[in-house]
């Protein structure tokens, strides 16, 4: 009964796949974007991030008397609020495939997993970019309210606002791929961004050798230079950013990618 011969194309039972193109990447990206916003959780979380940005920027505008503030200051406030929550949004995009078990369908409709991961990553970038633009607009609103000066240092805009948030997107994506579990990924993210720098700072205060070492191995500390306006990082600082980035961003990303590509969605 066990037939071992594959049917010749044209025989009954053979699938004619010659006229079916593969799913274009653009379509996968748009579907992934849709999936990130088509649940109450996704919509509310995204809306809340923008609302929170708005609230904090407006409060900042009202309590400051506008003296000496620039648009850049508001950008920094708005951007740091976004920076905290954007990675969580990205985490949800990835982990929901596992915690809600939708991966079963996603990876069946597109069995080439690297394409699904790429589509998801691009969708996260598009979503992140849209939120970055929104956050910039919110900052503008704050500057308007406070009557702040319309100036921004280019270095701050690029490094502190855009690059820092992009790093956040990649970080969220990496943690999510590595853990494939929503609560674990979010907790890990907060430990990573809140607990780790504090721990490093405390250790550094007691051990001088550790204080010197910290920027090399602790990503948050190394990133500090990004937020210092038009300050151009020295060669050493750039090297620290690269080294700590390798440990905390690239390594988890690669390991996470390997895990996701092999995992069996149950």
């Amino acid at each position: 009964m066990s037939a071992t011969i594959a049917p010749v194309p044209g025989t009954p039972g053979a699938l004619d796949i010659s006229s079916t193109p593969r799913v274009p990447l653009g379509r996968l990206v748009s579907v992934e974007l849709r999936k990130s916003l088509d649940t109450r959780a996704g919509r509310w979380f995204t809306g809340s991030i923008v609302a929170l940005c708005l609230a904090i920027v407006v409060i900042f505008a009202l309590i400051s008397d506008g003296g000496g503030l620039t648009y850049g200051d508001f950008l920094l406030v708005s951007g740091s609020v976004l920076g905290y929550f954007l990675p969580i949004l990205v985490i949800l995009m990835v982990t929901s495939e596992w915690s809600q078990r939708t991966g079963l369908v996603t990876f069946t409709l597109e069995p080439h997993r690297p394409r699904v991961v790429l589509a998801k990553f691009l969708a996260a970038l598009v979503l992140g970019a849209s939120l970055i633009v929104l956050a910039a607009a919110v900052a503008g609103l704050g500057a308007l309210i406070a009557g702040a000066e319309w100036s921004v240092e280019t270095g701050l805009l690029v490094n502190g606002f855009v690059v820092a948030n992009l790093i956040g997107i990649v970080l969220g994506f990496a943690i999510a791929m590595l853990l494939m579990n929503t609560p674990a990924a979010i907790v890990t993210y907060f430990i990573y961004t809140l607990v780790l720098p504090t721990a490093v700072a405390i250790l550094g205060a007691f051990q001088e050798w550790f204080a010197d070492l910290a920027p090399w191995i602790e990503f948050n500390t190394a990133q500090a230079t990004l937020f210092e306006g038009d300050y151009v990082p020295t060669g050493e600082e750039t090297a620290q950013l690269v080294t700590s980035g390798l440990i905390w961003l690239v390594l988890p990303f690669v390991l996470g990618l390997l895990r996701l590509l092999r995992a069996e969605p149950k």
Binding site: M1, S2, A3, T4, A6, P7, V8, P9, P12, G13, A14, L15, I17, T20, P21, R22, V23, R27, L28, S30, V31, R34, K35, D38, T39, R40, A41, G42, S96, Q100, R101, T102, L104, V105, F107, T108, L109, E110, P111, H112, E264, P265
Partner: protein
């Protein structure tokens, strides 16, 4: 056409699927039958590339699943109706599928109508769906891309009797139009009524396959008969060398029904009931998978088995 060729999937030393080979032909419904944990789902997961095979191959229409572009347009898959985002509406679940496959949104409405999910139901979140509704949604999802091959894992789970009948009609019609249908179940009665071909699997191995007739070949014939004069009929049959035992209000004869009828006609005995008493598929199934059943041997639970002639034989329906 689905061809599974010497497929093995091991987890450590445990073989979830152990050298399984079978073919699901186009134009037929193939039932994939086995107790819980027999390897049905794992086999289906390997088919669609979710689980890599340890050895062996599966081809669908001559291709590995991974090589089929936009596979949703060729192969409809339902592995677990509950594996949907609880926060999405039924309509949204289908819309995502349709968008991925590049189908117009009107296809979503067609499928909702096909599986009898109303407009209001389709706007509810999957979290609020009953298992039966999820199952209907899953079947709608599998049929979205108008595929020519269907792979359904336990599709009748959670459906009410009307729903099961509806699904049976749907899949039969689908196969009659030339489609290939592979459906798994642990409920024999459900599969028996719909499948043209059956694959029986136990503990990762195929224990029997074929259509119902083939499977029952070799099973000893037996007839259950009641006559106005049972004693006389018993005597007549015994004279012919047929083993007869009392069974309820009637007799159980170890021969084909036709021979009982002939004997009765020859001797002018009035029969009030005559039917086949041979062991059904269920007995065969339980017998073949006896070593793999979680309950050890089903006799323990039911105190009856086709292997023990002489015992009351009213199996049909008891296990249902």
């Amino acid at each position: 056409m689905i061809i599974v060729d010497h497929l093995t999937r091991k987890y450590g030393a445990f073989a979830a699927v152990d050298d399984v080979s079978f073919t699901a032909q186009p134009g037929r419904v193939t039932g994939f039958l086995g107790p819980n944990g027999a390897g049905k789902t794992t086999t289906m997961r390997v088919m669609v590339g979710l689980t890599p095979a340890t050895s062996g191959t599966v081809t669908i229409g001559g291709h590995a699943y991974q090589d089929i572009p936009n596979p949703g347009r060729h192969v409809g898959v339902l592995l677990d109706a509950s594996a949907q985002h609880a926060g999405r509406t039924g309509r949204e679940v289908l819309t995502i599928g349709a968008r991925t496959m590049g189908l117009p949104d009107s296809r979503v409405d067609e499928m909702l109508e096909l599986v009898s999910l109303t407009g209001a139901e389709s706007k509810r979140r999957v979290r609020n769906y009953s298992l039966g509704m999820r199952q209907r949604l899953g079947i709608a999802h599998a049929l979205l891309g108008d595929p020519s091959v269907l792979i359904l894992d336990e599709p009748a789970n959670g459906l009410d009797p009307a729903g099961i009948r509806w699904m049976r009609g749907l899949l039969k019609g689908y196969a009659d139009r030339g489609g290939t249908v592979l459906l798994s179940s642990h409920l024999l009665h459900e599969v028996e009524q719909i499948a043209d071909e059956m694959i029986l699997i136990g503990r990762g191995r195929v224990v029997a396959q074929g259509d119902k007739k083939t499977l029952l070949q070799g099973q000893a014939a037996a007839a259950l008969v009641t006559a106005t004069d049972n004693d006389r009929l018993a005597q007549v049959l015994r004279d012919k060398g047929v083993g007869v035992t009392v069974s309820g209000e009637g007799l159980r004869a170890e021969c084909a029904t036709v021979e009982v009828g002939r004997a009765a006609a020859e001797h002018g005995i009035v029969l009030t009931d005559l039917r086949s008493g041979s062991a059904g598929l269920e007995d065969l199934f339980l017998e073949l998978t006896a070593g793999t059943q979680r309950e050890g041997h089903p006799e323990a639970a039911t105190q009856q088995s086709g292997q023990q002639p002489g015992q009351q034989s009213s199996q049909q329906g008891v296990h249902a």
